[in-house]
Symmetry: C2
Subunit: 140 residues, 2 copies
DNA sequence: TCTAGGGTCTGTAGCTGGTACAGGCTCAAG
DNA sequence: CTTGAGCCTGTACCAGCTACAGACCCTAGA
């Protein structure tokens, strides 16, 4: 029977957390740093969210999953909120992020190569000589 | 003429930083968290390093370059310092680190695939419709 | 009606791996 | 003797959260 006569179902912070899978505290954090808007409050000072906040938070979470930094998320949201975002602008942001993702992959691949080739030389025996230690100790 | 009669050349923190390329403050940080040993001090309380510290710091820096966390570095150093490290033990550490590197690569590759395929659909035009925004807004 | 338990509110501390700066000493060159 | 560089300490800051203390508030059961 609750909310039966109310036009908009009010979500509390815990509801929003459950709906999105976001950590409860992270929601407040996002509000503090300005990526989530300050929601209206109930008479008892509880945050009162609605469906629009669910969408916003999901947007942020998806962007984070794609590795966008919170700064980049802010930029994306600013474009969306401005209502005047163009595909070109968004593409620009996405492409520069993509470049940094690729750079990270290259870094890690380099590490992977060095590490795996070094480990491959290990005997794995109960002896003190170890190619990994040698590589780290090397007097270059 | 300086240090001419001294058996061991003493290095100050700045010297160590220059020799290794490590940031000056980072050296103190490494000491605080216990991966660099507390060096002896001069009468005026200056840290007095020697060649062994250069080796130690280089070891740490190489391990960091290979993506080992400082916790893992601590473990490696403990094995080395124990003097009883075995190739098998070190190989174990290196392999588990290698696994996490590979996991990170996989994560990033997934991101790269999603991102690049989405961006590829962009017209890049001056229009508000954008596949990237759509992907982030999607009502799944 | 009282009470126990959950939820929420705030501010703040902790994590990793550093980096930077203030305020005070000390040292070497000119 | 002065001036600038280097060093000392503690502390604050960055991202991106996460967690906890202490104070409210709300609801269900006895």
């Amino acid at each position: 029977m609750k909310n039966h006569h109310r036009s908009v179902k009010v979500l509390r912070r815990g509801d929003l957390a459950k709906l999105t899978g976001c950590n409860l505290e992270t929601i407040r954090y996002y509000e503090n740093i300005g990526v989530m808007p300050e929601p209206p409050r109930t008479s008892k000072n509880y945050r009162a969210y609605d469906e629009s906040h669910v969408g916003r938070l999901r947007f942020i979470m998806r962007a984070r999953e794609l590795g966008f930094t919170l700064d980049e998320v802010r930029d994306l949201l600013a474009l969306v909120d401005g209502g005047v975002q163009t595909c070109g602008e968004v593409q620009g942001l996405a492409n520069s992020h993509l470049a940094s993702v690729r750079a990270k992959i290259d870094d890690l691949k380099h590490i992977e190569r060095v590490l795996s080739s070094t480990v491959a030389q290990c005997t794995g025996d109960d002896v003190p000589e170890c190619p990994v230690i040698d590589a780290l100790t090397e007097v270059t």
